[in-house]
């Protein structure tokens, strides 16, 4: 207990001191969060009518980001497996960062879900015991369970490791390895369950597709590690934390494989939709070519596809991949490409055309974008705090002093 108290005290002191660039970064994030809170207060007061959503397209930017971020959270932890189980020590430094990223991504996921709720004040209806939990019928209840369970696991493992390191002890693998194993399986499950959320709806042929789950995993294992590479690059630049080139190169290999599988699945989907188009291919037509002159998503999806293809091609060549500047560019392209494709490239066309063929387009409003930016800033803020504390402990900048 005392250790925990000291840890919190020490890390608070450490977190509030830093270089000027650090303070500017945190102030910037705080400003964005305030902007998000202001936008959210507008939404709370006036209702979800301040968003671009309506009865025809009833999920939008929030649920898109939620879906994407579940993938990031899942992928971050897939780095854990090689590090702890295969005893591949290159990964070990990446793991702490990965789990921090998972925690930040999960907080953002939950925030996006809450932002999307019509009655956030009534969320207690979901709490088992005092509310009514429609388990196991509703996939949303499964999702709530797996996301919160995953959050708990990803908070407790790094916390245990860091507390031990903080005291200068070696963490006991017998305690954390079972947790690590569970978290790896759990990572797959959170993403598969999230895919099932959409996949299980017979009303939406665009989602009602057996490939959705596997495709979610593939794109997540491309975008997640791509983000980790970028974060590691930043950490290398701004802190004394040592990260080997080898580590980044290995993660780049993971990204490469996943990006290729993702592309193969995309081709398979496109073939099915366009070789012998049925009535159910209309959403795909809307997404890629537009329907009846309505084509708001067309530029977005082609940008995304181009980014994905270019990034995958770059990653394919060892020479290009091993050049870090080019690697970082490829990672940025891949990350943004998948964000578009799996964000509103996936959610919005599910509603277009509607059940009776109505094509009502959706585009987010400024308020909606404000809330979204605020939540992303919150994620970055949480990650900055976690990563900075973690790194400080690893570097023994803060240590437990028994007095």
């Amino acid at each position: 207990m005392k250790v925990l108290k000291n840890l919190i005290k020490d890390s608070l002191v450490y977190l509030t001191h830093g270089r000027k660039s650090y303070h500017i970064w945190m102030a910037f994030l705080t400003f964005l969060m305030l902007l998000g809170m202001y936008s959210y207060s507008l939404q709370l007061e006036q209702g979800l009518s301040v968003t671009g959503m309506n009865d025809r397209v009833s999920w939008g930017l929030y649920i898109s980001n939620f879906t994407f971020l579940v993938g990031i959270a899942a992928a971050a932890v897939m780095l854990v497996l090689p590090a702890y189980v295969l005893k591949d020590f290159d990964f070990k430094q990446a793991v702490l960062i990965g789990e921090g990223l998972a925690v930040a991504a999960l907080c953002m996921c939950l925030a996006f879900v809450i932002a999307d709720m019509g009655g956030p004040a009534r969320l207690w209806h979901l709490i088992p015991g005092i509310g009514v939990f429609n388990f196991p019928n509703s996939m949303l209840t499964w999702d709530i369970i797996v996301l919160n369970g995953y959050l708990f696991i990803n908070l407790s493992i790094p916390l245990y490791i860091l507390i031990m390191r903080y005291q200068g002890k070696t963490p006991n693998p017998k305690i954390y390895i079972p947790g690590v194993m569970i978290s790896v399986f759990w990572a797959v499950s959170i993403h598969l369950v999230t895919a099932f959320l959409y996949q299980g709806l017979q009303a939406r042929p665009f989602w009602n597709n057996a490939l959705l789950g596997p495709r979610f995993l593939a794109s997540a294992f491309a975008a997640g590690p791509a983000l980790i590479i970028l974060v590691l690059a930043m950490i290398r630049k701004f802190t004394d934390f040592k990260i080997d080139d080898k580590t980044i190169k290995k993660i780049a290999l993971v990204v490469t494989v996943a990006a290729q599988i993702n592309l193969i699945m995309l081709i398979s989907e496109l073939f099915k939709e366009f070789y012998a188009p049925t009535h159910h291919s209309e959403s795909a037509y809307y997404l890629f070519f537009g329907l009846h002159g309505k084509a708001k998503l067309v530029p977005w999806i082609w940008t995304a596809i181009t980014m994905n293809v270019v990034a995958t091609v770059i990653l394919l060549f060892h020479k290009l991949r091993n050049n870090f500047t080019i690697l970082y560019i490829a990672c940025i392209l891949l990350f943004i490409g998948i964000w578009i494709e799996k964000g509103f490239g996936l959610i919005v066309p599910g509603f277009i055309p509607g059940p009776w063929g109505k094509i009502a387009e959706y585009f987010p409003t400024m308020t909606e974008i404000g809330v979204t930016i605020g939540i992303w800033a919150m994620g970055a803020f949480i990650f900055s705090i976690l990563a900075r504390t973690g790194i400080a402990i690893e570097l023994k900048k803060i240590k437990f002093k028994d007095n």
């Binding site: 006036q46 209702g47 979800l48 009518s49 968003t51 959503m53 309506n54 009865d55 009833s58 999920w59 879900v113 999307d116 709720m117 019509g118 009655g119 956030p120 004040a121 009534r122 969320l123 207690w124 209806h125 979901l126 015991g129 005092i130 509310g131 009514v132 939990f133 429609n134 019928n137 509703s138 996939m139 949303l140 209840t141 709530i144 959320l197 959409y198 299980g200 709806l201 017979q202 009303a203 939406r204 209309e282 599910g350 509603f351 055309p353 509607g354 059940p355 009776w356 063929g357 109505k358």
Partner: protein, 350 residues
């Protein structure tokens, strides 16, 4: 073919399986709120479960806040106190599906009183349950409908739908002659003189499926199928996630994106808890076959309003009902039957 597929006449017939409606003893107990007169004994002598504790702590906070509030206002202190009391009790009430009859009466009384405090008018809110041997069904005659939209207007007025966003449960699709039932090319928001040449009309609304996907997906069981086949929503239990909306293949559900606006004099004061009572922002709503009318033995407003007689409503379990006659003598069909939702809404042509 598959014998498992249910026919309309076998829906729940002879199948006394308790549907989602009602509750087991223990489940109900959990949601029962005990009210004691004496404040001190209430606080100290009660066996509290978590839920009650949660309720009471907040009620305490509320009374505190209410006290501060009423001490500031001299005139209407008592009323404000009552208002906030009602608000908090309403906030912490349980799911209607699991309420005892006593609890249902209590919440209905609170809603009536709350409206009286705010608008000085008395509402008549019913909590009437389903009758035995009743299963509602609906049939729509495509040949007769001329697209007059009287059903839509009657529905909006009857069910207190938001006037600001022009929410409508019913959609009338204007189809092109010679193209068959082509919804893709139909127009469901036309505004011109009807019947327009070269067109025919067809209405859709909530089909009250016997196997409703919307009910399955709701994370908090805020929507369910009643024993008489009506799919209802507890507006106070809904958290507004809109998963049911994504799950509905028939575009049957509507969401309150803002607080619904209805001029006070236009509010239909004859209400049902699961039907047309006033909604708040951020909750789902939909057609309930006008539960406030159908459970009293009347037709839904759309049926009575239709000038052409295209709409037929009745009890599927009554062999003498008009709907049974239609099902027996017309070539009826349902929409998107391949999805296995078993709608209780049939179409036919003369």
């Amino acid at each position: 073919m598959n014998k498992e597929i249910k026919k309309w006449f076998s829906l729940n017939l002879g199948n006394k399986k308790q549907s989602n409606y009602g509750c087991s003893e223990s489940k109900c107990d959990k949601h029962r709120l005990e009210k004691k007169e004496d404040g001190i004994s209430q606080v100290f002598d009660v066996n509290m479960n978590r839920r009650q504790a949660f309720k009471k702590i907040t009620a305490g906070l509320m009374i505190g806040a209410g006290a501060v509030n009423s001490s500031c206002s001299v005139v209407s202190g008592e009323e404000n106190k009552e208002k906030s009391q009602i608000e908090w009790e309403e906030y912490f009430k349980g799911n209607y599906k699991l309420m005892s009859d006593e609890e249902k009466d209590k919440t209905v009384n609170r809603l009536v009183r709350s409206y009286e405090l705010r608008n000085g008018k008395k509402l008549n809110i019913s909590s009437k349950g389903p009758e035995e041997d009743v299963l509602f069904g609906y049939a729509f005659n495509i040949s007769k409908c001329q697209g007059y939209m009287d059903c839509v207007n009657a529905c909006v007025e009857e069910n207190n739908q938001d006037r600001a966003s022009q929410m409508q449960y019913i959609r009338i699709h204007e189809m092109n002659d010679g193209k068959g039932l082509n919804f893709g090319e139909a127009d469901d928001s036309f505004y011109h003189e009807v019947p327009a040449a070269g067109h025919f009309y067809m209405g859709t609304q909530c089909f009250h499926c016997d196997n409703p996907p919307c009910v399955e997906v709701c994370p908090v069981q805020a929507t369910w199928k009643e024993k008489d086949g009506i799919v209802v929503i507890d507006y106070d239990w809904c958290i507004g996630c809109r998963y049911c909306m994504a799950a509905c293949p028939y575009d049957g559900r509507r969401f309150n994106w803002s607080t619904p606006q209805i001029p006070e004099q236009e509010v239909n004061k004859n209400q049902h808890y699961l039907g047309n009572r006033l909604r708040k922002k951020g909750v789902m709503e939909k057609c309930t076959f006008c539960i406030q009318r159908s459970r009293e033995g009347n037709n839904p407003a759309c049926v009575d309003a239709c000038p052409t007689g295209s709409r037929i409503f009745g009890n599927l379990l009554d062999p003498k009902s008009e709907i049974r006659w239609v099902l027996a003598n017309k070539k009826v069909f349902r929409l998107k039957e391949d999805l296995g939702t078993e709608p209780k809404f049939w179409y036919f042509m003369d």
